[in-house]
């Protein structure tokens, strides 16, 4: 808000001062409204300019719909062990490289890590029977094998975000010999907590996951999007549009808003069987913490994780509350483990200004100390 103090207000008290303040405020508001209105016609042009990912990259591996990107830094690669980013199957992974000054990946690239990102692609109806086993022991294992072969390193560092963190944890427990260090961001592990609304809504008394998956096949992006919106209906459906209208004339606000909204609305469907396994085995039966989660022929035992672990979680996360993430550090056998609870939300943990300035340099330093 731009508020101007008019010179004739000096020395006035009581009703006259109040009246002057009212007048000034109304004039300022009128001018701001004019600015807001005049910026609306430029909105489509600004939307057109939104890019998905900012750090230069190349495709180095493809399998079915999956693509692996390698990020190209300006300097030489300092560490032999490659870094692999694993994102969720729900949204697109470019949130990790959102825009200039809001990119998690650029922190690692600039520090001299050889960085790779798995883009799972958009599943079609043909992929509805793909299971978590196909993703973890199929695609993910192939990617990690490829990275080891390409770089000559015996191990790969993993950074998993949200559902990608759960997949990375499962992978590490099954293939510990391939993983150097494990970094997790807002990762659901212990689903017994009823703090988050998603955990409540997937309660078997109210949600028949088999009927849902059998009828729907792949879980539509619109369904997932509306479930995420309903976690905070007032903030998402009322406050957000009001904020946009109030700040539409501010270029910095609008740019951040458009980048975030583009990503938030860029959902993809989830393969039906993966959704069934996650809902049933994790949300409803909480098998991961009990070391009884079946992945294909294997049973995931978190005690088999022995590598260094950095567990990052967001204090105000409405999607994956800290209570869902925190127990992991006590469930693994790693001796070198650390957790950081950061004052941010689920997305803010990756892209907020404070996280970019303070958290990510700290995370890069943590990994650098443990890398060759």
């Amino acid at each position: 808000m731009n508020t101007t103090t008019l010179p004739h207000m000096d020395g006035k008290t009581g009703f006259t001062a109040d009246w002057d303040a009212w007048q000034t405020s109304f004039i300022n508001e009128a001018f701001n409204n004019l600015r807001r209105l005049t910026s609306i016609p430029f909105l489509p042009e600004k939307i057109e300019r939104i890019r998905k990912g900012v750090t230069p990259r190349e495709i180095v591996y493809e399998e079915d719909r999956l693509k692996v990107y390698r990020y190209i830094g300006n300097g030489p690669v300092k560490y032999k062990t490659p870094m692999c980013f694993v994102f969720a199957l729900v949204n697109r992974p470019y949130i990790l490289d959102l825009k200039e000054g809001r990119s998690v990946i650029s922190h690692f690239v600039n520090a001299g890590f050889d960085c790779y990102l798995i883009d799972w692609g958009t599943p079609t109806r043909a992929e509805r029977f793909l299971t978590t086993d196909d993703y973890v022991n199929g695609y993910m294992r192939n990617v990690i094998d490829y990275l080891r072969e390409r770089t000559g390193a015996k191990k790969v560092n993993l950074l998993g975000y949200c559902m990608g963190g759960t997949l990375s944890t499962i992978f590490t427990a099954l293939h510990q010999e391939m993983v150097g260090s494990l970094m997790l961001l807002a990762t659901g592990i212990d689903f017994a907590t009823r703090e988050g609304l998603i955990n409540l809504w997937t309660d078997p008394r109210y949600f028949d996951v088999d009927k849902f998956v059998d009828t729907m096949g792949n879980i539509p992006a619109e369904f997932l999007q509306s479930a995420f919106l309903m976690l905070k209906p007032v903030a998402n459906l009322i406050e957000k549009p009001i904020n946009l209208m109030e700040n539409i004339h501010r270029d910095d606000f609008l740019e951040d808003y458009l980048y975030m909204e583009t990503w938030l609305n860029d959902n993809i469907p989830v393969p039906g069987e993966v959704y069934r396994e996650f809902a049933k085995y994790l949300f409803q039966q909480n098998l991961l913490t009990k070391n009884r989660l079946p992945i294909g022929k294997h049973i995931v035992d978190l005690r088999k994780i022995t590598c260094p672990l950095l567990n990052l979680m967001a204090r105000n996360d409405d999607l994956v509350p800290c209570a869902q993430t925190e127990p992991l550090n006590d469930l693994v056998s790693s001796k070198d483990k650390e957790k950081i609870i950061w004052p941010a939300g689920h997305i803010g943990l990756a892209v907020s200004g404070r996280a970019q300035k303070e958290l990510w340099p700290r995370a890069v330093e943590w990994l650098a100390k443990r890398s060759q």
Binding site: D18, W22, F26, R128, Y206, F207, K211, T215, V234, I238
Partner: protein
């Protein structure tokens, strides 16, 4: 009264409570209105207060069993409708002798089944090859560690390994 009627009354009561709480809370916010402050700032403050009240009451409401019952019945209704529509379409496809979604899913499942069997077999081979490789490596290490003994004892463990791996 039937169980369903009771549920409907409970849900209506929960919904009514949500709006009562929201309205009471929002009215409470307006009691803090200060006419001395400029209207736009004060209105913004009031709006913030009202939205906070709404956020809290909706969050509480969405955690109630009544809300979840409502969610369950509306989701089930939508799924039943979809199934009903699909069954109808399947019958049409059947009459025209064209493949329907169930047929396609059946083929996909059959492919998945064959794929799974091949992968399981390959995994088995992979494990056996890895086992043989380990044994060969162990043998090579043993042979390198020995200080040039006669050829006869060197061959024996190799034969034994081959036999055991075949088993």
């Amino acid at each position: 009264m039937s169980d369903n009627t009771n549920k409907a009354f409970d849900q209506a009561a929960a919904f009514q409570k949500l709006w009562m709480d929201s309205m009471t809370g929002m009215a409470g916010v307006w009691s803090q209105y200060s006419p001395a402050s400029p209207a736009p700032e004060e209105t913004r403050k009031m709006r913030g207060g009202m939205l906070k009240v709404l956020t809290e009451t909706w969050d509480q409401f969405m955690r109630t069993p009544q809300f979840m019952e409502m969610m369950k019945s509306s989701l089930n209704g939508a799924l039943d409708l979809r199934r009903f529509a699909r069954d109808g379409m399947n019958r049409v496809h059947e009459q025209f002798e064209t493949p329907n979604k169930t047929d396609i899913d059946g083929i996909l499942l059959a492919i998945r089944h064959v794929e799974r069997r091949i992968l399981d077999r390959l995994e088995g081979f992979e494990d056996r090859v890895a086992d043989v490789k380990d044994r060969i490596e162990a043998l090579e290490e043993t042979l390198q560690g020995q200080t040039r003994p006669s050829k006869q004892p060197q061959r024996k463990p190799a034969k034994a390994t081959k036999q055991s791996s075949n088993k």
